[in-house]
Every structure is written in C-alpha cells, then in structure tokens.
C-alpha cells in the first residue's frame, strides 16, 4: 500500500517503513520554531518542570520576536526579555531580534530553514505555512515545544489525508488567497479537522511560492494538522539560493490512500472575501462590494510578502486613501521591508497616506498598531476573523487579498481592484 507525502515524512521521522492514518508515533523533528509568546512558557516548562538544561540541537531551532514586539507594553517587554535570554543561554543559532527578522512564518522560508521532506513544528498555529515547501509542518503548544527542545522528538497521530485538486488556472485578479478562502468556505472551519490537506493540480503550477505559502498558511483555518504541496521547479528555484541544509523532496505514491478527493475548477473561482465572523464565511466580492470600512490592514504571515506588497502598490500608485478610513501596512519581515524600500513601494504607500510599520504580527491578532474598537469594520489581508481576533469582540472583520484591500482603501468601501487599476501588470500577478 502506498503512502502520501505526509505519511512518508512521519514514517521517516519515526524510523519506520510505513505508517497508516490513526497510528500514534514518536518522531524525530528536523526543525522547531517558537516566538515571544510561546518561548517563555516553553522555556520555563523545559527547565523548571522537565529538568532539561540544554536543548537538543541549537542549530535546528528558530526564535522570532514578532507577536507583541517591538514591546507594546511593559508586560510584553518582559516576554521579549525572557525570549531573548532563553535564546542566548541555549545558544539558539536562528534567533531573530526586533528589526532583523519579522513574522516567523515569513522569516523561516525566506531564510531557507524549512526544507522539503522535513518534519517541522512551530509553537504557533500557522506553522502549517511551511508545507508549501514540500514538508510536514504543524502547529504545537508550549508543552509540546518544551518536549521538542528537550528531546528533539514529539508524539504525533498520523493524519488522514484530504486531497485537493485544482484544475485549469485562476482568472485575472483572482489570487491564491481567494482560492483558499473559497475552499475553506466549501469545507468549513472544521472541514479538515486534524487532517492533512494535500494541494495539487494544474492551477498550482502557475502559482508562485509566496502565494503557495498563503494557501498552506490557512490550512489551520479549516482545522487541518498540516497543508502540503508537491516539490516542483518553483520550489527548487525558491530554495536554490536559500536552503541552509541539503534536502530530499518527497512525493505521494500513485496508490496512496486519501480519505477524500476534492476537485475544483480554479477558473470558476471568483474574487471573494470571508465575511465576519469566521474564515469559512465566504462570499463573492460582488455580494459585499460597497460595504463601508473604518480600517484596512495589509499585513500578516498570510499576505504581506513582497509579491503581496507589489500588487498593493500597483493599485495605490497615484491614489490616496479615502477620507474617513485608515490604511495600515505591515510588512511580514525585515527582508520584505528592505526589498519594498529598494523597489520604491514604501514611497507609494506613504504618498497614498498609508501608515507603514515595522515587521510584526501587530494588528492581525489584536496585538498592537491597529487594534479595532467596538463596532468598527475592517478589511484585512490576514487569516482569521473570529470574534475579537483583531480587537473588540463586536468589531467586524472581512478577509481579502492585498489588491482588494488596496482598492478598498482608495474607495473607502469594499471595492474590486479593477475599479482603481485597469490591469494588474503581468510581471507581478
């Protein structure tokens, strides 16, 4: 019996020839990540409760200061300090200070730290992002992370795999974000609960790596354990100058077993949003066009990489943010910010009247720099819009792609980007 990519990676980690869905395995981890909210509890549990003095492999751990950093208040400064001290004391090689890293899920891929065929865990639910690079990557808690840091191993239940086949190509204006919002709308926020989402098909061949990361990033919004994609020329090229270790890609066997196969015609997917207050509340853009907004946020590990910012800038070029609304743009990493500066994108944003911030998770989780008040309406390029996610429980959050967000900032209401920009230049589509 054949195995899926996810099963093969877990079998290798567990030192077994094969595994089946439902098996509980103890598997070796290739790379682990924690940040300023999850390292302090994990470090405390590891040292004070588990009694471990050092971590299993300082070269295979990354730590980012991203959630409440630069510190939003005195208490988060303490969390930042604990994170910094733990990283220094443990000799963690991939420590990213404020102003040098950014959001974990952008920083790890752009630094070539999470690679094909690997078993990756992160103490953050969006750690599933890395799976676009043909690895098994999943989010874990702080006690889990303490276990991995101490032992280099962790228990896993081998998930059933759901296969998503995307035929044809996405239409003009329609982005990977729209596709994944549509899919989550179809299967629901628990549609892939504890399962693997394997994405494949012709449409993906035409989707670049950053947009693929947007898709696997949102696997958790369908409840999935991981999202994973095949290795191809796009993966190889992305990693060529980045990969920090040799790697071995993995493929699903032709006779691998899937719990279910979903087929979608990518060409039929419309530009869309997730309406308040759930990521599976999908609606075509036409249904919500004209909705009055208070804030537009372009940021997060989902949609604030350089390709996202290029599309936002193309829409904003020679336009102004509408009176009565505010646009906040938060690059997802320091490298993204440097590149945006080189390309003149920041000038475009500033000229349009947008607030440009340092790289941080910031407003996405209602942390700082864009927290919503009671009754406010926000269009956001982020991943999650459950009640209270971005601030007040009675704030309303719509999720969209960056071009829609930029156009909506210009109009002050939810707007199709074609109403602001005649055509998205082919080279940045």
């Amino acid at each position: 019996m054949g195995m899926t990519m996810t099963e093969k990676i877990l079998a290798r980690g567990a030192g077994r020839d094969s595994v089946r869905p439902g098996d509980l395995v103890l598997a070796k981890v290739d790379f682990a990540m924690g940040h300023d909210l999850t390292i302090p509890p994990a470090g405390k549990i590891m040292r004070e409760q588990m009694g471990a003095e050092k971590i299993w492999d300082p070269d295979r751990v990354a730590v980012t200061q991203d959630h409440f950093q630069p510190a939003k208040d005195a208490a988060s400064a303490t969390l930042g300090r604990l994170t910094r001290e733990f990283s220094q004391q443990m000799g963690i090689k991939w420590y990213f200070e404020v102003g040098q890293g950014g959001i974990c899920h952008t920083v790890l891929p752009e630094n070539g730290l999470v690679l094909p065929g690997e078993l990756v865990v992160g103490a953050d639910s969006h750690s599933c992002t890395y799976g676009a690079l043909n690895n098994f990557a999943t989010g874990i808690g702080s006690t889990d992370l303490a276990c991995v840091l101490a032992l280099g191993e962790l228990w896993f239940r081998v998930p059933e795999t759901l296969k998503f086949v995307y035929r044809n190509r996405l239409k003009e204006w329609v982005e990977a974000k729209d596709l994944i919002l549509y899919v989550i709308g179809q299967i629901g926020v628990d549609g892939a609960r504890s399962k693997a989402m394997e994405h494949t098909g012709e449409a993906l061949r035409h989707i670049d790596m950053e947009a693929r990361l947007t898709m696997t990033n949102m696997a958790i919004e369908a409840g999935a354990k991981n999202g994973i994609m095949e290795f191809d020329e796009v993966t190889r090229e992305y990693l060529e100058s980045r990969a920090k270790r040799p790697y071995t890609p993995v493929t699903s066997d032709p006779d691998a077993e899937y719990e279910k196969v979903f087929e979608f015609d990518a060409e039929k997917v419309e530009l869309g949003v997730a309406k308040p207050m759930s990521p599976d509340n999908y609606a075509p853009l036409s249904e919500v066009a004209g909705t009055k907004l208070d804030q537009i946020f372009i940021g997060s590990c989902t949609n604030s990489r350089i390709t996202d910012l290029r599309r936002a800038a193309a829409v904003l070029e020679n336009h102004k943010v509408a009176p009565g609304v505010r646009l906040i743009i938060t690059p997802s990493s320091h490298q993204v910010a440097i590149q945006a500066e080189k390309e003149g994108l920041i000038r475009t944003f500033l000229a349009a009247g947008a607030a440009w911030t340092t790289a941080t998770c910031g407003a996405c989780l209602g942390g700082h720099m864009g927290v919503l008040g009671e009754g406010e309406v926000c269009l956001s390029t982020t991943n999650r819009n459950f009640p209270g996610r971005m601030g007040h429980p009675k704030a309303q959050v719509y999720l969209s792609n960056p071009a829609v967000a930029a156009a909506s900032a210009v109009a002050g209401v939810i707007t199709h980007p074609s109403e602001v920009l005649a055509k998205m230049p082919a080279e940045i589509r």
Binding site: D124, G141, G388
Partner: protein, 180 residues
C-alpha cells in the same frame, strides 16, 4: 499529579467553533505565565460571557460544541479554563492543538457528542474518567465518551507530557552513563 477517577460538577454550556481568541483574548497573552490571572478572563471573548469566569465554582464542568478550541496554538487557552476553576472539558469534538495541549498538560478532556447535545447549562454531572461515562443527575441520563488511544490515556494518567519527558531524559542519562 494524577487524575481523579470521578469528577463531579455543574455544567456550563457553550456552542460550536469556540476559538482560542474567545477562550482567552490575545491581549491577555501578556499573562502567559500566570494561570490565575488568565483564569479571571477565561471565555471573556464569547459574546454574552464577558463576566463568566467570576461565576465559576471550583470543579465545574465546561461542555462545548464541535471544534472546541479552534484557532491559535496558544496553550493559554486550556490553561485559562483550568485557571478559572473548570475541572474537565467535555465537547462534541476538539480542534487538534487544543486537544494536544490539554493532554500534554494532563488536563482531562472528553469527547462526547451525546453529552454535548443533551446537557443543559446548570445540569449536575458526574464523570467517570476511567469508564468514560458521563452521568447527568439533573436529567437522569448517561452518556458515553469516545475512548482515546492508549498512549494519550497513559499521558493523561501520568499527568501529561512533563513527567513523560522526565522519564525519557532519565533513560537517556542512564544509557549515556552506561556507555561511559
């Protein structure tokens, strides 16, 4: 810390897809190392439950709907619920990271669609963790919980992942010493 065999308490009822930001809004993540403080704000993000934590009696039981604890990986979600005084969470189903976190903490949870459907707020419940049976004294009903795989049960019984890791580290030290 070992688990009690039987837990008794009054039920608090919640709906489907209660996510971690509703269980403990992210702004309280600054109290990540303070279970009591987190407990004061548990479930505060659920509309209508802003002051819920203040009404919990130590030992009460939380009954949730499907996909309970979806969203973030923050372990402060089960920590906050425990900090509020809840002795056990029963749900129709759990989101996977919440489920892992609870097991890893040695915090008892049970999956029982039957109980999630039938129990009303305020019902007096008795839960036999070993038998996986939930008795409802108010209604005179009895519900089954779905059994966990052996490894998860073992983890729960021994008090979670911490004692398990301590065992593993001790074994590694022994074998390293034996190799000299």
């Amino acid at each position: 810390m070992t688990l009690p065999k039987v837990i008794r308490g009054r039920a608090w009822k919640f709906g489907a897809n209660i996510d971690t930001d509703q269980i403990i809004p992210a702004k309280y993540a600054i109290y990540s190392l303070d279970e009591k403080e987190l407990g004061k704000h548990a479930m505060e993000g659920v509309p209508g439950r802003e002051t819920w934590a203040g009404g919990v009696t130590q030992g009460d039981i939380l009954v949730g709907g499907s996909n309970f604890g979806c969203g973030s990986s923050r372990e402060i979600a089960p920590v906050a619920i425990r900090g509020a005084g809840i002795s056990l969470v029963v749900a129709d189903s759990f989101a996977r990271i919440f489920f892992r976190n609870a097991i890893n903490m040695g915090y008892p949870i049970l999956q029982s669609p039957q109980a999630a459907e039938a129990v009303d707020e305020g019902d007096e419940l008795e839960v036999d963790l070993e038998e996986g049976v939930i008795r409802n004294f108010t209604k005179g009903d009895e519900y089954r919980a779905e059994p966990f795989p052996k490894f998860m049960n073992d983890l729960l019984r021994m008090g979670g992942l911490v004692p398990w890791v301590r065992q593993q580290l001790a074994e590694r030290r022994r074998s390293a010493a034996a190799r000299g």
